[in-house]
């Protein structure tokens, strides 16, 4: 995305929104306010690459007004020189006092633009242009049919070798994520809770956690923890997850039940004190009690300067961990973004209902 001003063709079927470039406001496809009023607008941007932003939801926070407002379109795409945003399109809604609300939202933690990825071995394209911006203090949920690319997105972000990024950018804490090795991403505070974590026979959980913790500490320049200190550091975290200490003597994930595996992932999250947690279906295979434990542990870890991205199929998880945004993913793209009402809509009407909306 080199050129500063690209010609834009806007196709809008609904009342148009005035969009103009203004520094540091917000992304066109990522609403930052709680109450989203959606208006679907299609853009086809011709540049070095074609972009289709299928869904734009802009919102007015102060009003809860759902009145449609009339505006004119003036879209421009810019490459911002500071490098923090690969491609930023900024929208200003004339009626909404965006300036004031900007102070309430945190700094951008992760910004994904136009991410495309293929399976390394087969070349099959899974992600076809994902855009996503996550700010500090936010909780995002991604829902979508099986095979829509949710897990792939999470794996690509942490650098799984099975996938190859073919286009797009991901900027994490102001740095290009794809320049980093998986362990460096972890050191920077990015964490993925795996959907089905692999068993590592022969390595005890205790050793594994301590190695991981000390690796992070070393990267932060703090002294490593000895076995005893580490146990002291660990026990409150274990207790928070209702986990038995005998768990530490077992081999990593070996013979763990579904619930134990997920608890273990969250325990690792707690130990690493990650800033950006990606939770891939932490609710799958959990009974009600385990889900509550896991969810409350995640809630307990939330701070104003970290963020959570959850991937889930069910609304139930969202009742425990309240999302700021819900994204619907299909065929490798995020096709719709809204608040938790979107999840209710999905629960009631399935993905067809969402499609109709879109």
């Amino acid at each position: 995305m080199a050129a500063a001003m690209l010609p834009v063709v806007a196709v809008a079927s609904r009342p148009l929104i005035a969009l103009q470039q203004k520094n540091g406001i917000r992304n066109i496809d990522t609403p930052t306010a709680e109450s989203a009023c959606s208006s679907s607008t299609k853009f086809v941007v011709k540049g070095r690459r074609r972009w289709r932003v299928e869904e734009i939801a802009t919102c007015s926070r102060n009003a809860g007004r759902n009145s449609s407002f009339s505006a004119s379109v003036d879209v421009s795409l810019t490459q911002q020189q500071n490098g923090r945003r690969g491609l930023t399109t900024v929208a200003t809604v004339t009626e909404a006092p965006v300036e004031s609300e900007q102070e309430k939202v945190g700094d951008v933690l992760l910004e994904v633009r136009g991410l495309c990825a293929v399976v390394e071995a087969t070349g099959k394209e899974i992600l076809r242009g994902v855009d996503l911006t996550i700010r500090q203090g936010e909780v995002h949920a991604i829902m979508g049919k099986n095979g829509s690319g949710k897990s792939t997105l999470s794996k690509v972000l942490v650098g799984h070798p099975d996938y190859q990024v073919t286009a797009g950018t991901a900027v994490y804490k102001g740095e290009n994520l794809f320049d980093k090795e998986p362990e460096e991403r972890s050191h920077a505070g990015l964490f993925l809770s795996f959907q089905s974590p692999v068993e590592i026979p022969g390595v005890s959980n205790m050793d594994f956690l301590r190695m991981a913790c000390n690796a992070r500490r070393a990267s932060l320049g703090v002294p490593e923890l000895g076995p005893l200190e580490f146990y002291g550091y660990l026990s409150p975290k274990l207790a928070a997850l209702n986990m038995d200490p005998s768990f530490l003597d077992r081999n990593v994930n070996e013979g763990f039940s579904g619930g134990e595996k997920k608890r273990n992932e969250i325990l690792q999250l707690a130990v690493l004190e990650a800033d950006m947690a990606i939770l891939d279906e932490i609710d799958s295979g959990l009974d009600v009690d385990a889900l509550r434990d896991v969810a409350s542990a995640v809630n307990g870890l939330r701070k104003s300067d970290n963020a959570v991205l959850m991937i889930t199929h069910y609304q139930r998880l969202l009742e425990y961990i309240k999302p700021t945004y819900v994204h619907i993913m299909e065929a490798g793209r995020i096709i719709k973004t809204g608040d938790s009402s979107l999840a209710s809509l999905l629960e009631a009407g399935g993905y067809e209902a969402i499609k109709d909306l879109a």
Partner: protein
């Protein structure tokens, strides 16, 4: 049958793949084996059941060859037809054709046989006996006769039977299926010196790892039990342990004698077991009577002193051969944990050729840890025979590190239903090392459960791992649950493993699985470490180390585990594969 015979005659010039190798092993229909040889054929090993015909083309040579007689001896129902057909009842045919020269071969004819029989064909000369082996046996015999003044009847009988059996054996070559990948040529070329009676000052007791054995222990020095080093004070009341010449005669009569001939019979097929019998200077016996539980593990330490030549710099290599032999009898509902540890004088050449027999009575339980940490140039050959009566359990954990050559033949036989058998083995083969495990589990009774986990790391291009794991589920072994897994990790280019996990199932209601994997480390596991911030090198170290730890953590006793852990770490670190500082423990 007749048409089949004609067919085979038509093609009687047929010749013949050196190895006729077909998959499963049972012959269920009548079929014909057509053996053609310029000279003759010998040693046809057959078992029981359907009718198989053997046709020998050159009968004249047959008459003069004794081994054919063995064929008849082994089978009650044979006929010799006038035109030179022998028919015998067999279910499993394994044919060893041995040759002196010229054309030779065995031809397995008929689809049923070709498909179902396992005919492994190898060729040596039967008429000229294996002179090397006979020389070796007589050398061993002489050396034993020289040193033995105890005049123990049981030992004498054991040696006698073994000597007789040795005459029918020959030195294995890589043409034998069981030694296909395990080359024993170097041993044949080396000078083998049966060790003389050990003097107890010839070694350093510190090298024995005595400190771990807080319980009771038996110490073999060069194949002979050392009374001063052994310690049997802590054994529970009623347990008999010690040398055959020191335990009460009554116990010998009651427990040992009745088993002696069956032992000889079982070991007859194996040349090393026979040699062990020939050279047995001592026989250690452990008897745990019915209902007795031995709570602390019994340590059995094997030490080979430096009676061979030094491994460094000597022009001719001579191996000091010792033949320790141990019999363990565990009675009804009794329990024993046993730790065997093999070591030897550093930097010297020795060959420890041991035999161990373990008999477990009804509902008995045996835990068996086995650690082989001999010198890098030593030879370790071992036969273990285990028999399990009804509802008994046998758990083996084996860790093999040392030796230029190490070969373990493990035979477990089920004598009653509801048995539990667990075998976990870990082999680490580095530079110029060959580690070989041949295990055989024979199930004849219902509801047996068996689990086998075999793991092997080869860390050098000149390292070699061999595994042949056979599980045989016979007709009456219904509802058997048998699992077998072999996992092999190759850390260097050109490192080699040969694995052959195999199941033979005749029963029709069983749950059996087997699998083998040969690979580098698993990407998925490596990534899991890296995703948690652990760098690739540390992750590799942890994974390589933990690969073996899965087996090693089952070893009996924390001190033993700790020592073995260091052994693995140091050995892998030496080859540069792991960072010994990695914070992983067993």
């Amino acid at each position: 049958m007749a048409s089949l015979l004609q067919q085979s005659f038509a093609g009687s010039a047929c010749l013949l793949p050196r190895r006729v190798k077909t998959t499963p092993t049972s012959v269920t229909e009548d079929c014909l084996v057509n053996a053609v040889s310029d000279k003759f054929m010998s040693a046809v090993t057959v078992h029981s059941l359907p009718l198989v015909w053997f046709k020998f083309v050159e009968l004249a040579s047959f008459d003069s060859v004794n081994p054919v007689g063995r064929l008849f001896k082994a089978n009650k129902r044979q006929e010799v037809s006038s035109c030179g057909y022998y028919s015998v009842q067999v279910s499993t045919v394994s044919i060893h054709v041995q040759r002196i020269g010229g054309r030779h071969g065995v031809y397995a004819q008929g689809a049923s046989l070709r498909d179902q029989a396992e005919a492994s064909v190898s060729v040596v000369t039967p008429s000229t006996p294996d002179l090397f082996l006979l020389d070796l046996a007589s050398k061993i015999e002489d050396s034993v006769a020289e040193g033995d003044h105890s005049g123990n009847d049981v030992l004498a009988r054991l040696r006698e039977e073994a000597t007789e059996a040795t005459l029918g054996c020959r030195w294995p070559t890589n043409k034998d299926e069981a030694y296909r990948f395990t080359d024993l040529k170097f041993l044949k070329q080396a000078n083998i010196v049966p060790v003389s009676s050990p003097s107890e000052t010839a070694f350093d007791p510190d090298s024995l790892n005595l400190q771990e054995s807080e319980g009771s222990r038996l110490v073999f020095i060069d194949g002979v039990l050392s009374e001063s080093l052994s310690n049997l004070e802590n054994l529970p009341e009623g347990v008999i342990a010690g040398s055959i010449s020191s335990i009460p005669q009554e116990a010998v009569r009651k427990y040992v004698l009745p088993r002696l001939s069956s032992v000889a019979e079982r070991s007859q097929k194996d040349v090393f077991s026979c040699l062990n019998g020939v050279g047995a200077r001592d026989l250690a016996v452990v008897i745990v009577p019915a209902g007795v539980k031995v709570t602390k593990p019994l340590y059995v330490l094997y030490y080979s002193s430096s009676q061979g030549s030094s491994s460094a710099g000597s022009t001719e290599s001579s191996y000091g051969l010792s033949n320790p032999r141990l019999v363990v009898l565990v009675g009804k509902e009794s329990q024993l944990d046993m730790v065997e540890d093999f070591s030897g004088a550093p930097e010297s050449l020795y060959w420890s050729n041991s035999v161990c027999e373990i008999e477990i009575d009804e509902r008995g339980r045996v835990g068996h840890s086995y650690v082989q940490e001999q010198g890098r140039h030593a030879v370790h050959i071992r036969q273990t025979y285990v028999s399990q009566a009804e509802a008994s359990s046998y758990k083996l954990v084996e860790a093999v590190f040392g030796g230029r050559l190490s070969r373990h033949n493990l035979c477990i036989q089920q004598l009653g239903p509801d048995t539990i058998t667990e075998m976990s083995t870990f082999l680490l083969a580095g530079r110029n090392q060959l580690h070989d495990l041949h295990s055989k589990l024979l199930l004849d009774h219902p509801r047996g459960i068996s689990r086998q986990l075999h793991k092997c790391i080869v860390s050098d291009a000149s390292g070699h791992g061999v595994f042949d794991g056979n599980v045989r589920v016979n007709r009456f072994a219904q509802q058997t649950d048998a699992g077998q897994l072999s996992r092999n990790l190759l850390l260097a280019r050109r490192a080699t493993v040969n694995v052959k996990p195999n199941l033979q199932i005749i029963a029709n209601d069983v749950k059996c699985s087997h699998g083998a994997a040969i690979s580098d480390l698993e990407e998925e596991q490596l990534f899991y470490f890296r995703a948690r911030g652990i760098d690739a090198k540390t992750a590799r170290s942890a994974l390589v180390f933990s690969f073996g730890a899965e087996v090693l953590q089952k070893l009996e006793g924390a001190a033993l585990r700790k020592r073995v852990e260091n052994l693995v770490k140091n050995s892998l670190a030496e080859e540069g594969y792991i960072n010994p500082e990695v914070a992983v423990t067993i």
